[in-house]
Symmetry: C2
Subunit: 593 residues, 2 copies
């Protein structure tokens, strides 16, 4: 079986580069150890290899179809989803008393990475159920919890997140789905439409449980009048709940996971059950959103990792041409990995995927620490940092995932464009991530317009300190002198320019935020550069201490060098905008196009 991820690298990230075992020092995680984490990850690998990867291509070719009002998906998915339930994957992160394993979220994220790399479409189903169940258990009543979560945890019922409507995509404040109180307390009649609902209907589970945003009659307008409901496809008494599957979207990639158009209440018979308090729906959603967004970042990294592995394997085997200095045509052709430009394309992928993976694991550990932190001051600081990093850790992998999978296609050349190889599928699948869970543009606004300013810039300042700390470290290691120097130069320039940009807030939101996406892009490159500094330090430590597998560590350092010299410098092409005095994206008029 071709490898779709690097176990060596994942373990390096978790246990060497960032010490996730620190978490086991915390009382909540104290039953865990390197052994339990390893067992979890190896179990994930087994499922991925035995059940998910083998149907990865098939699920793309046999798209879900809407037949007689029901969506049919790949026949293997029923068994797979149940297996996820039975083996405890869906509720692994929840407390013992809820049947969970108190697994750190970062390990869950790492296991998800393995699933996603092997078959992104298949990985979507349990991921969604975990998210939906988490909303119920965190904010719902005891009754809701008892009625819904056990079957969701068991993989018998599918969970979904139902936010988007035909006229309210990025603009959630314009939601129009309504909820009218019924005679029973907490029960509402739901009426409206939802579009692009992932796993919104399918035949692999007995029921579909939508966590749906709607507006209770008379609620304030805007985001403050939105409430959260549990809306099952089939009611607990077994009767259908007037949730119609109006349509299925056919899409460019991850075709195995169906996306539905739902219509609620066309017979005025759709029941929904309020989660928590009225009008708090969006707040609840957003408390889960950080993790969902990091999850999307991880999806993007996983797909790009699989594409990298596929192109790496091809490059090692495919003979074509000779070294550029070799003029003797009687010599055999060499594998294309011998060509510098092919190595450049592989280094690009390696640096982007492993750097982004490092960032997501950093955020994952931070998230676990925050949940257990007892000092309010420390917690505030860590939360500020995670809030700040979230749009970056969602967007960098998503945007670069498209470029990285594109590079994988390029390594294979004509072969990569055909369906004989999986890279074209990875390329198509990766394209969703800059769109869902907030487009890149939305995250740019979130970062520059909101996150940077929260708590008087606490998150931003904390990030600067953390980066400076790594920089001080690397500068003390002689072998990595050049890396530290390269990084510092760009870090200083970035900071200087970012400072200029922040002053532009005085110009009003239109101009100030005009280049928010570029600021997000530059911040992403910087953070991943920082992650490569961290990785180089860890690798140099291993080399100096005489670790086995020197080649792995040498590769890490060389890739860090690649990142500094080819990717980090791209910040230089973005920061001129931070100083700019003209605003073509503001002043361009729509009739001028």
């Amino acid at each position: 079986m071709p490898s779709f991820y690097s176990k060596k690298d994942l373990f390096f990230q978790l246990f060497e580069n960032q010490n996730c075992l620190e978490l086991t020092q915390l009382p909540y995680f104290s039953d865990h150890s390197k052994e339990t984490f390893t067992l979890v990850l190896e179990a994930a690998e087994q499922i991925a290899e035995k059940s998910l990867y083998p149907i990865f291509r098939e699920m793309d070719r046999q798209e879900p179809q809407l037949v007689d009002g029901k969506i049919r998906i790949h026949p293997a998915m029923g068994t797979i989803i149940r297996k996820f339930g039975e083996d405890g994957w869906i509720n692994a992160i929840f407390p013992y008393e809820e049947g969970g394993q108190q697994l750190p979220w970062v390990i869950h994220l790492a296991a998800g990475f393995i699933f996603q790399a092997s078959n992104y479409s298949a990985s979507v189903f349990p991921f969604l159920t975990t998210g939906a169940a988490n909303l119920i258990r965190t904010f719902g009543s005891k009754e809701l919890k008892e009625k819904f979560t056990p079957k969701m945890f068991a993989g018998k019922w599918q969970g979904t997140m139902a936010l988007t409507e035909p006229d309210a995509g990025s603009s959630l404040s314009d939601l129009t789905t309504t909820a009218t109180p019924a005679s029973i307390s907490g029960v509402y009649r739901i009426k409206g439409q939802k579009i692009y609902i992932s796993a919104g209907d399918h035949d692999a589970c007995e029921n579909i449980i939508h966590l749906m945003l709607a507006r209770i009659e008379g609620a304030p307008s805007g985001t403050k009048g939105i409430s959260l409901f549990v809306v099952p496809k089939i009611r607990l008494d077994g009767a259908p709940n007037d949730v119609l599957t109006q349509g299925i979207y056919h899409k460019m990639g991850y075709k195995g996971a169906p996306i539905a158009h739902l219509m609620m209440g066309s017979q005025e018979e759709c029941e929904g059950y309020l989660v928590g308090e009225a009008h708090q729906g969006l707040k609840y959603m957003f408390q889960m959103m950080n993790e969902a967004r990091l999850g999307v970042g991880m999806n993007a990294v996983a797909i790009a990792t699989a594409a990298f592995q596929a192109s790496l394997a091809y490059a090692k085997e495919r003979p074509q041409g000779r070294k550029i200095s070799e003029k003797d045509l009687s010599k055999p052709q060499v594998p294309i990995i011998e060509h510098s430009d092919v190595k450049r394309m592989l280094l690009f992928q390696k640096s982007v995927t492993e750097g982004a993976l490092a960032l997501l694991i950093y955020c994952g550990i931070l998230s676990d620490k925050i949940a257990q932190e007892t000092s309010a001051a420390k917690k505030l600081k860590m939360e500020a940092l995670l809030d700040l990093l979230t749009p970056i850790a969602k967007s960098y992998p998503s945007e670069m995932g498209v470029k990285s999978t594109s590079m994988a296609v390029q390594v294979l050349g004509g072969a990569g464009y055909t369906t004989d190889f999986p890279v074209e599928q990875y390329f198509r699948e990766s394209r969703i991530h800059p769109i869902h869970e907030g487009t890149t543009g939305i995250h740019g606004l979130d970062l520059l317009g909101r996150k940077v300013w929260l708590q008087e810039g606490l998150g931003w300042k904390t990030l600067q300190q953390e980066i400076q700390h790594s920089l001080d470290q690397v500068k003390s290691i002689q072998e990595l002198n050049d890396l530290g120097h390269s990084f510092e130069e760009i870090f200083l320039k970035f900071n200087h320019s970012a400072g200029e940009l922040l002053f532009k807030r005085n110009l009003g939101p239109e101009k100030f935020l005009a280049d928010a996406t570029l600021f997000l892009e530059a911040s992403g490159i910087l953070c991943v550069g920082w992650m490569w500094i961290k990785q180089a330090i860890s690798a140099q430590k291993a080399i100096s201490s005489g670790a086995l597998e020197q080649s792995f560590y040498l590769g890490k350092i060389e890739t860090a060098r690649y990142f500094m010299e080819y990717e980090l410098v791209k910040i230089l092409g973005l920061i001129p905008r931070f100083h700019a005095a003209s605003y073509p994206t503001v002043t361009m008029e729509k009739d001028w196009f």
Copy 2:
């Protein structure tokens, strides 16, 4: 019908920004005028609108299939190809005495742009036949010409270019298809395999005429031993020619055009007819290659243009959110084109596609002038410039086409990812261009390793002079002062760094060429920046002379400004490599990945 290109812009490019009517001063083109050119382009638009665009989605969904050894394509293609023949499109650029219309190649290229923007798959068939017929008429004997070209011109026979083999893709010197002299002079027995042959077999034409590279027995090794043959699928006497369609490739995009795997001589009965002299095949091919490469650049621009138009139309109509400074939610949502970040994504597409179109038209006019130039010295200089620009004009549109169509998807958000809109198809189709007709990596080597140095740098120096000329012009126009200043700053930095890079030739080819692709990328951005300077000058002239449609010209200038401030500056992120002292893509070892 949605618009898939801007007629206004195409006419601006041809008649205002670059004066293609200069060509009509030359004796060979003297029968032509703005009227004849306009007629040609409007006829192209009619075919595109009536026949090509309507089946653009369908051809993607009903892929060609290999049935009983024959490839079946969309049933409408037979009529369409014949119409291309009957209306004189296939041989339009050839001389009157060969039945052509002596149409300038640039007008043919512009008409192709319209066809390709409406339906790339459909446009491939006549484009290939023109190229193949051109090889026969330029290098073939009178007999070959008489026997093959008339039916090709008529659209009855399909032409192909058969180069690639399973073990020889980018490395043409490793071709192994053999040609053994038969008893009749000029006739050879061909044996071997060819892969990825576009339109290599289909049922819409009576015959398929392959222009095939093969090695005559005893020929020298390498590229100097390659000869060119005409290999028909069916011989002139109506007997099959032992060319088997061994397979069809299914691919990510432009699915309507079949790509075949061919096997010649499995029964030892495949006849081929030598074109021109033995061992000159690659030279012949390469004499046609410039135009083929510019053609691929144009394909990429055309697809990205159609995607831009689709996303522009969507952005003007789709209401979502409010202006960022508008806090009143009772106000209606605004079309997304009102958002600066959406305008940024549209400006990106507009600047890339219109800038690349300008570059290709520049090259097209240059090519027509070269063919008619009588002064050897002038010709040499123009040829050097075109040779230098060719890898750039192929690669910039190809690489940026992928990014530009990706941006079109992003403008539509979730909708763009579904098959309800055409942008996902454009995204998939555009991905082929960095691969075929020489990968981007190959063109980087061609530019930095070869083209820059030819004739003691004549092409390179000529380019510098031409750019300097435009720069002097723009600096004399007060309204465009800021543009001239922005461009000059980067132009000087690029030149300085490029100078440093050229000195690295002393380090040997491995290191010197390690960053050839980055040099190509930076050169592409520079040349397209130059094209925007030219367009801004033309637009300002029109405004100053009180032209109608001011908004079109204002849009041109604002887009030029966008390009300088957002795209041209990306050169700053590339040139640090030109000075670099370490070479991670050279020193990275394959076991380190």
